[in-house]
């Protein structure tokens, strides 16, 4: 489970600058709840597309709290962050613009059931 999440943050750092985050400046802390293995914290600092991520607690402009298992599904594109926030599956506090910005980098659903008629995607 940790591998998926770790991989997500690693990729975030490796693939910078992130164009979707180019206007964003601030810190987001992911508080991932795990009653068995203990909670995890990821502190992501974004500075106009440059991203760093670390296992730190500390203060952040936006805090996103979710079950670790749920967050894993989120970074795999199996869950949608906005719908999850509306139903309380993830709880966010702080700067909402950061939440909206950061949810844009979560991937889409893994399986595509398209009509097969779409044009070239890039």
């Amino acid at each position: 489970m940790v591998d998926t999440i770790e991989g997500f943050f690693q990729q975030l750092v490796d693939q910078q600058p992130q164009p979707l985050l180019s206007k964003v400046r601030g810190t987001v802390r992911f508080h991932l709840l795990d009653p068995q293995l203990g909670d995890d914290h990821w502190l992501v600092a974004i500075d106009h597309g440059d991203v760093s991520a670390s296992h730190a607690e500390g203060n952040a402009d936006c805090v996103i709290r979710a079950d670790k298992a749920f967050f894993e599904r989120l970074v795999q594109g199996r869950e949608n962050a906005i719908a999850a926030m509306l139903r309380g599956a993830i709880v966010c506090s702080g700067d909402v613009e950061l939440l909206l910005a950061i949810q844009r980098i979560f991937p889409g659903p893994p399986k595509r059931q398209t009509t097969g008629q779409r044009g070239v995607s890039q």
Binding site: V63, R65, A83, L86, G88, T114, T115, V120, S121
Partner: protein, 686 residues
């Protein structure tokens, strides 16, 4: 929506009650206190000594407050009114109600005052479709507050009711045992607060914070809003009425998403569409640019922030696509509806770029154009890479969410709106003509912005080449030779969907029409088959599906006409634009200046008055914006560089017209005009 219902609102929070102020909602009845697309109160019934009350009068003070004058007792015979009851209610985050009871007798009086309260926490979608709830209810009295609560898994919504005066709180409501002195009065303040529980270590969650964020002084805010708008002086009273009505309604239609830090964008309509819509928010922002520019800026920022980034079939999302509709209720939360947000519209993405350019032309705000360069480029990329479903160089649509997605992803979104001349419906994908116009305009305007603000003339050249190519192909492929007009759409085979519709007018607005074809197109628009005398019909008389009260197949839509008038001006048909404006503005007189979403396409000579199409939603944002855009087109307001050019062509009936203090990159300027276009014989003014 029945006539004696009273509605007040603030943002996406609104209360619909009967004329007494009572709420008695059933599962399918759209009354109650709503916020975030959820009903937070479905029962709120006042009794005095076990008697219901009778309304003497109801005042809609402002769009956010109402006052109910009541007497105890019901019945047709006049009731004994030794007491009167006043409820003054204002909506904010939830609502606040001042309940006063006046004793007009010479003796003191003991009364039992009761308010029954309950809530079903229905999602707006459930109210429409009468669906069953899946969660559990709990009601409790805690710290002198009555808490109504609903929970489904992690989804929790609650209503917290409190009173300033002591009362007995029970699970079904509040009871006051009071004594009122002779000629005295008693009053309590009731608070109905929304609660979206959920907190983290750093404070309340975003949703909870949104529910509790302070309400600004709404009366002062409305005054400020009206004060900031240009002033209209006009000899023709109906236009003054429409103008004032539009400004107040526009104020009510403002919606401030949590991320907008108090700034507003236009929601689509009251009360059921008080949310962000790509198409509606953009069209309305375009209509009102000469009057207020904040709405456009917020629309651009907020839609940009929610621009699609991935491929998600359930939401019909693609990278770069601008959203269609955002919803916040339970069914959206549990993905029983795709509105988180839903992206199934094929026009908003191109229109987004159009708005960005038009906004810059009015404001000179290059900073925003630079800030949104990424979003604009992503939108342009969507047009080429994702919207060309057939690989033929045209924008078309076909939903991927077959269950809850939208079939028709253009503004004429009803099931039978896109039809051949013989009435058949085409298959999918469908490439409606106005989508090509918007794409053309988006490319041309983006080319200007690329040179002006993005320092990318190569991109500008490329966009202009693409636009020129699109225009050339479009004028061949969509032109119906024997009818001499543009086809409504191309079907899946690339064949023409050959009915004559108002979409031809949007093509003029976008500039995609070859100059030599414009005159014949205008002749169609103002001809008997399309022009009713009040306005241009969505579909022409004689088409297979034509129906004067068919939603998109024969009715007249004021918003449609306002953009067509703009299109007529674009091609130099000033008098024709004045005729369309005159027809629509004369129709507005029959609705106290508030234009409905649509009215019947009957010939004006037959009905003498415009027959309103029955819809639940009024005011509708783009109908509200219509008189404002028509004022622009009649005055011929056009930003050119740092100046505002005025080139008036007004209907004779309007007389002298002045629009003072028009804001823009020039500061504030005035525009004047005098009626000279004789529209009477065309609109058959009595």
């Amino acid at each position: 929506m029945t006539a004696d219902q009273v509605r007040i609102l603030h943002g996406n929070t609104f209360v619909v009650s009967d004329a007494r102020g009572d709420i008695e909602a059933s599962a399918t009845d759209p009354t109650g206190l709503f916020s975030f697309d959820t009903r937070f109160l479905s029962r709120w019934v006042l009794t005095v000594d076990n008697q219901r009350l009778t309304a003497l009068s109801t005042d809609d003070l402002q769009y956010f407050e109402a006052r109910f004058f009541l007497v105890p007792g019901t019945g047709t015979v006049y009731v004994d009114s030794k007491q009167s009851v006043i409820r003054q209610r204002s909506v904010g985050n939830g609502f606040h109600e001042e309940l006063s009871i006046l004793n007009h007798a010479d003796e003191p009086i003991d009364l039992t005052v009761r308010i029954e309260a309950a809530c079903d926490f229905a999602d707006l979608f459930e109210v429409k479709d009468a669906l069953k709830k899946k969660g559990a209810y709990a009601t409790q009295v805690e710290d002198g507050k009555l808490i109504l609560r609903y929970q489904r898994e992690t989804f929790v919504r609650a209503t917290v009711i409190s009173s300033s005066e002591p009362c007995q709180m029970a699970e079904d409501g509040l009871t006051f045992h009071i004594q009122v002195e002779p000629h005295g009065s008693w009053r309590t303040d009731l608070d109905v607060a929304l609660s979206v529980p959920g907190a983290s270590e750093t404070g309340p969650s975003l949703l909870a914070w949104q529910a509790f964020r302070p309400v600004r002084d709404m009366a002062q805010d409305l005054q400020h809003w009206l004060h900031e708008a240009p002033r209209l002086e006009c000899e023709w009273e109906p236009l003054r009425t429409s103008y004032r009505r539009s400004l107040v309604d526009l104020a009510a239609l403002r919606f401030s998403p949590l991320s907008a830090a108090g700034r507003s964008l236009p929601a689509a309509g009251l009360p059921w569409f008080m949310t962000m819509f790509g198409r509606d928010s953009i069209f309305t922002s375009l209509q009102v640019l000469p009057y207020t520019q904040e709405l456009a800026a917020t629309t651009l920022r907020e839609l940009g922030l929610r621009q699609g980034t991935r491929i998600d079939d359930f939401r019909d999302e693609d990278p770069g696509r601008i959203l269609h509709e955002m919803r916040y209720g339970e069914m959206t939360a549990f993905e029983e509806r795709p509105h988180s947000p839903y992206y199934g519209c094929a026009d908003a993405t191109a229109l987004y770029v159009v708005l960005l350019d038009e906004y810059e032309r009015w404001t000179g705000d290059l900073d925003l154009v630079r800030e949104l360069e990424y979003e604009a480029r992503a939108a342009l990329n969507w047009i080429d890479a994702y919207a060309d479903l057939q690989g033929n160089g045209y924008v078309s649509y076909q939903r991927r969410n077959e269950e809850t997605g939208l079939e028709n992803q253009c503004w004429k979104d009803s099931w039978d709106s896109i039809a051949y001349h013989d009435g058949r419906l085409p298959g999918f994908p469908r490439a409606t003509c106005e989508l090509q116009g918007y794409a053309y305009d988006a490319k041309m305007r983006a080319a200007r912005l690329a040179r002006l603000a993005w320092g990318d003339s190569a991109f500008a050249d490329q966009l202009e080449q693409q636009a020129a190519d699109l225009k050339r192909r479009f004028n061949q492929d969509f032109w119906v030779e024997d009818g001499e007009f543009f086809a409504l759409a191309l079907d899946a085979d690339g064949s023409q969907v050959d009915s004559l519709t108002s979409n031809n007018g949007h093509l003029l607005w976008s500039g995609i029409v070859d100059d030599e074809k414009a005159e014949i197109v205008v002749r169609h628009l103002l001809g008997e088959r399309l022009f009713s005398g009040w306005g241009i019909r969505t579909m022409a008389v004689g088409e297979g599906r034509y129906n004067p009260i068919g939603y998109h197949v024969g009715t007249v839509w004021p918003f449609d006409n306002s953009f067509i008038a703009w299109g007529l001006r674009r091609y130099g048909f000033k008098d024709e634009a004045a005729i369309v404006a005159a027809g629509i503005l004369e129709a507005a007189r029959f609705f106290d200046g508030r234009l409905p979403e649509a009215f019947g396409g009957y010939p004006r000579a037959t009905t003498k008055y415009p027959v309103q199409y029955p819809t639940a939603c009024s005011p509708q944002a783009w109908s509200t914006g219509t008189p404002l855009l028509l004022l622009r087109t009649m005055l011929g307001l056009e930003p050119v560089g740092d100046n505002l050019v005025v080139d008036a062509a007004l209907p004779m009936s309007i007389g002298r017209l002045e629009l003072l203090d028009i804001p823009g990159r020039w500061g504030r300027v005035d525009a004047f005009g005098r009626g000279r276009v004789i529209t009477r014989q065309r609109t058959e003014l009595p």
